[in-house]
């Protein structure tokens, strides 16, 4: 019951602190909006496509699309060199009946644009080929009445398209990867900082001592904080999800409740971190000094930067980074529509971290009261 009273008090204090509220709820929306401007302006950039052995009609169809320039190369080798020199963004090569597409993929919007343009042009070309054949067939039919017409479709069997990526894979996308991590980052950063500051203030103002001079249990204090910041994280996640869905038009394939659930656990981890570190800080300034140590590495190891390129011992650090797990889980939910139950490994790790930190906090409060 005391936990509920502590939760209510913490929430009341937060609701009356307009600046902190704005920081938690408005800042993420503004940052996401800014990013969406960058994201959207990208989609109108020109793409350069290298083509090798393409039929003339397909070539001109691709070239006639807005914002697309076609460069013809006679060999794959010269095209690849152009790709490497960043003269072109993708190579389209015809191999027999099939097509080989190679993307630089450093900018996922360009990759998406090439894919879309290619398939549209291919359809267009096929339709006109079919038209021609139809005309031929009809003329032939008129000449040789009574004979069976050759099947038109056998000539235009659907070509296979093979995609290759120089950097990353088909899932590499700026927003694809960054959004789940960013979501987690907002939750983690604000909850970490604000809860850490709040507990620090309780200590310096003497309210913590006074609180501990009542029969309250140490665990009740920790749980009270968890409840209040959990609620805050839920509201924040809802706002961020709604922003991404409505303003940025990003489709959330899976269940939004699952996204909220993952971020809720993450916020509790952040809270536990904040409380733990606030015991080591003497002032708010010292609390700020923990940001480069605790928060920044979270971004680096969260999966925004591909970890396979790092030395093993460096990439192993990512196993203890909470945002990595939440980011993996949330991106699976958003991109692939994965159900919450199949994400149990990520959830289990997060809960494990949470359990350890919570325990440390309950014990850590012993510094201020021995029972």
């Amino acid at each position: 019951m005391r936990s509920i009273a502590i939760m209510k008090r913490v929430l009341k204090e937060l609701l009356r602190d307009k600046r902190t509220l704005a920081l938690m709820f408005v800042a993420p929306v503004i940052i996401l909006l800014l990013m969406s401007f960058i994201f959207n302006s990208n989609s109108s950039t020109n793409v350069d496509v290298a083509t090798v052995d393409l039929p003339t009609s397909l070539n001109s169809n691709i070239g006639s699309t807005k914002h697309v320039d076609v460069h013809k190369y006679s060999t794959k080798k010269s095209a690849k060199k152009a790709l490497k020199d960043e003269k072109v963004d993708a190579i389209i090569q015809k191999k027999g009946n099939n097509y080989d597409l190679t993307y630089a993929n450093t900018d996922s919007t360009k990759t998406a644009a090439v894919k879309q343009v290619f398939s549209a042009s291919l359809t267009k070309t096929n339709v006109s080929t079919m038209k021609n054949q139809l005309v031929t067939t009809t003329t032939a039919l008129a000449k040789l009445t009574g004979q069976t017409a050759p099947s038109a479709s056998s000539n235009v069997s659907t070509p296979k398209i093979h995609n290759h990526y120089v950097y990353g894979d088909k899932d590499t996308g700026f927003f694809d990867k960054i959004l789940p991590v960013l979501m987690g980052f907002f939750v983690f950063f604000f909850v970490f900082l604000i809860s850490g500051m709040a507990l620090l203030k309780e200590r310096t103002s003497g309210t913590l001592d006074r609180l501990l001079a009542t029969p309250v249990k140490r665990s009740e204090i920790v749980y009270g904080y968890m409840l209040s910041y959990g609620i805050l994280a839920i509201v924040q996640t809802i706002i961020i999800v709604l922003t991404t869905v409505w303003l940025l038009g990003i489709e959330v394939k899976g269940n939004i409740i699952s996204v909220i659930f993952i971020n809720l656990i993450l916020s509790l981890v952040a809270l536990a971190f904040g409380i733990l570190l606030s015991t080591f800080a003497k002032s708010e300034f010292q609390m700020m000094q923990f940001i480069p140590i605790v928060v920044i590495p979270q971004v680096f190891f969260s999966g925004i930067i591909p970890l396979d390129s790092m030395a093993h011992w460096v990439s192993d650090i990512s196993y203890i980074i909470p945002i990595k797990y939440s980011g993996d889980a949330v991106s699976a939910i958003i991109m692939q529509g994965t159900g919450i139950l199949s994400l149990w490994p990520d959830i289990l790790v997060l809960l494990g971290i949470l359990l350890v930190l919570t325990f440390l906090n309950v014990v850590g409060l012993k510094r201020y009261r021995k029972v």
């Binding site: 019951m1 005391r2 009273a5 008090r9 009341k12 204090e13 009356r16 602190d17 103002s205 003497g206 309210t207 001592d209 006074r210 609180l211 501990l212 001079a213 009542t214 029969p215 309250v216 249990k217 201020y368 009261r369 021995k370 029972v371």
Partner: protein
């Protein structure tokens, strides 16, 4: 013989290498006001924190109501006023009282009655719904005292309750402490204001980590052959 509400025996407390309390012996009897005086930094707050069980002793023992501290459940019977005001300034006076009352384990009906009562005692009834951030220093001090009074605790432990407040208010607070005294409840109060010491039943002089003298104010004055507690204090300091 009266029962000891607080009994401190051979308390030793160290912070790192610094030994703050060397050998503190004192007790508070039932229905008694005991003043703990000493210069700032003498360790008065430390004595109080070990009594409450917030600090663990390095030697000796602290018992309250006959039980060895630390003991969490006993805290429900102790009204503690810290040296700092320790208030949530985003909350109103009433919300502060309600919160600490809930922490003490008061039921909702008790809470309502108690808040009304203690607010009257410290004369804050009409300011109860203002935010603490808008309170004056004196109002904060009174609110802090009223929190200690919540739930009619049998023992009050007050750490410098009258520091930084005007004489009228100080007199008011002492009048209140007098009432509590008359009800037979016990009070341990620290102060470095010497004339307040005259108002206590017994005074303990804390100097150099030890209780140098512990007796009724009049007896102390006689022992040291001076006519104020302030002089007792100066003399005791000079002796060592």
């Amino acid at each position: 013989m009266q029962t000891s509400i607080i009994n401190l025996q051979h308390l030793v407390k160290k912070f790192g290498k610094q030994t703050v309390l060397k050998d503190v012996n004192m007790n508070v009897l039932s229905g008694e006001i005991v003043g703990l005086i000493g210069p700032s930094g003498a360790g008065k707050s430390t004595v109080i924190k070990t009594t409450l069980g917030m600090e663990v002793v390095d030697g000796g023992s602290a018992t309250v109501f006959g039980e060895t501290m630390p003991n969490r459940n006993l805290l429900a019977n102790i009204g503690y006023m810290a040296q700092t005001d320790a208030l949530y300034d985003a909350l109103s006076g009433r919300e502060n009282l309600a919160f600490y009352g809930q922490m003490k384990g008061l039921s909702p009906s008790e809470l309502k009655r108690e808040i009304k009562h203690v607010a009257q005692v410290v004369d804050l009834t009409k300011d109860l719904d203002k935010r603490v951030s808008g309170y004056s220093g004196g109002m904060m001090r009174r609110l802090s005292l009223s929190i200690a009074l919540l739930g009619n605790p049998r023992l009050l432990i007050l750490d410098e309750p009258t520091v930084g407040i005007d004489p009228a208010l100080r007199r008011q607070i002492w009048a209140e402490l007098g009432k509590i005294h008359n009800e037979g409840r016990s009070i341990l109060i620290t102060t470095h204001v010497m004339d307040e010491a005259e108002l206590c039943d017994r005074v303990a002089l804390l100097l150099d980590g030890q209780v140098m003298a512990f007796n009724q104010p009049d007896v102390l004055k006689m022992q040291y052959n001076v006519d104020s507690i302030e002089d007792v204090f100066l003399k005791a300091e000079g002796v060592q």
